[in-house]
Amino acid sequence: MKRDGKKIIFEKESDLPPNAMSLGTTEFNETGSWRNERPVVDKAKCISCGICWKYCPDMSIKEDSEGKAEIDYVFCKGCGICAAECPVKAITMIEEEK
């Protein structure tokens, strides 16, 4: 079995498990490509309350070195929940480039 980054490549019969057993994570799937709009954090406004982190269905909010919210654009699908729920409106949704 080979891996190409997060992707798994089966080359011979024995690579393939007998049933459909997972061998890797969905991180192979960069769902950032789903985005029409991207959340942008205004770190100055962010009060590190963790609410955006709590509500992100895609685990795409991380903590930066200063404890502020940071978006993982590789996976963020651009749903807008974080922006909608941020109590201080520190997150804005902006259009992806067309």
């Binding site: 089966f10 019969e13 393939l16 007998p18 049933n19």
Partner: protein, 386 residues
């Protein structure tokens, strides 16, 4: 120390499960299977067997629970019949796709409607495409022994597929006869605890059965077919070891006086047993007849079927089942197996014994008579009253 008992086929299944130290049982009652479950309930209640018994609300759930338990890494057992088996159908496919070595007893009973509780093999044969190994037994000793053999085969890493052990309703399930039970210590040497390579393991978490696109589904099916093919040798080995340890011999098929036979009867289960008497009688009259009992119907024993039949002149297939719009199922598969042989016997297919109609020495005698004086047809009926 082995012990002699007089037990019914259903209890032979229960004792087989006990001797195999099954860990989880999930079953639902249905005539003519109930005694399997009742005896196991008692043995779990009084501590003879240390197993979890889930008294499920349907057969569909019986199979689902067995699947869950087996996926978690436990040895799982269940038993059913006809309507129950049919209700499990989706889950029979599931056990195969998930590659789980569950062992199940099925008591052959004809399908409703109309309501019936009597013997016929359409119920299990119409599951032949699900990917379960299928053993058709013809004595209670064989039933009991087959449970151990079944686990040994099913749990072999090369196989990892479920096995169905099949008994004719009443003719076997409710008939008590001499059975030698295996001493637990010996059994434990034959059948080791189940210790699968992959299971639902909290220390090594994996997901099983996730969405699989056209990219890999076919290859997973290929592996199932491969496992079926590989199981032939695994079965042979398991049965050889069984013979060495316990003295009783089983094959994929059971040939009986086939050596120089011109005409060979092919059938399964108790009808095959009764047939032996007919073969003996005809042989006494100087007729060159033999019997090939199919014991494993899945994997279909292509090589054995060809080996024993290809030199005969006539083959008679007795089907206690019907695929409406086609005919007898064993008939079909035997013809298919011999198709590409250079020289081929004529093959005659008869439907008999549906819905519990008794297959007597007389019935079987008539097959030989008819095949002597007629040409094969797509379907022939034996002893239809109208």
């Amino acid at each position: 120390m082995s012990e002699q008992k007089v037990i019914m086929g259903n209890h032979a299944l229960s004792y087989g499960a006990v001797t195999s130290r099954v860990q989880v049982i999930a079953a639902y009652p249905i005539t003519p299977q109930t005694q399997v479950v009742e005896l196991l309930s008692e043995m779990c209640a009084d501590g003879t067997l240390d197993a979890e018994f889930i008294k499920v609300e349907s057969e569909h759930s019986a199979m689902a629970a067995s699947i869950g338990a087996s996926a978690a890494g436990a040895r799982a057992f269940t038993a059913t019949s006809a309507q129950g088996l049919a209700l499990m159908h989706e889950m029979l496919h599931w056990a195969v796709g998930a590659r789980l070595p569950i062992v199940m007893g099925n008591i052959n009973r004809s399908m409703a409607p109309p309501w019936t509780i009597w013997s016929e093999q359409t119920d299990s044969l119409s599951q032949r495409d699900t990917g379960w190994l299928q053993i058709y037994a013809s004595s209670n000793q064989e039933v009991y022994d087959s449970v151990l053999i079944a686990y040994k085969v099913a749990e072999n890493e090369k196989v990892s597929l479920p096995v169905m052990i099949i008994l004719d309703a009443f003719f076997l399930s409710h008939t008590s006869e001499n059975v030698t039970l295996i001493d637990q210590k010996d059994a434990d040497r034959y059948l080791k605890p189940y210790n699968p390579k992959y299971r639902l393991d909290i220390k090594d978490p994996h997901t099983f059965g996730g969405l699989t696109g056209p990219d890999w589904y076919m290859e997973l099916r290929y592996k199932i077919q491969k496992a079926m093919e590989d199981s032939i040798d695994v079965i042979k080995d398991a049965q050889k070891e069984f013979k060495e340890m316990f003295g009783r011999e089983y094959g994929l098929v059971e040939p009986y006086r086939c050596e120089d036979a011109d005409t060979i009867l092919v059938t399964m289960a108790t009808a095959a047993s009764t047939s032996k008497q007919v073969i003996d009688e005809l042989r006494d009259k100087g007729e060159k007849v033999g019997l090939l009992r199919i014991r494993f119907f899945r994997p279909f024993p292509y090589d054995e079927v060809r080996k024993y039949l290809k030199n005969s002149k006539k083959v008679i297939v007795l089907d206690r089942n019907l695929s409406p719009g086609a005919g007898g199922i064993v008939f079909q598969e035997v013809k298919s197996a011999l198709y590409n042989e250079p020289v081929k016997p004529k093959i005659y297919g008869y439907i008999a014994g549906l819905g519990g109609r008794d297959i007597t020495v007389n019935t079987i005698g008539k097959l030989f008579d008819d095949a002597k004086n007629s040409e094969p047809a797509d379907i022939k009926w034996m002893e239809v009253k109208i």
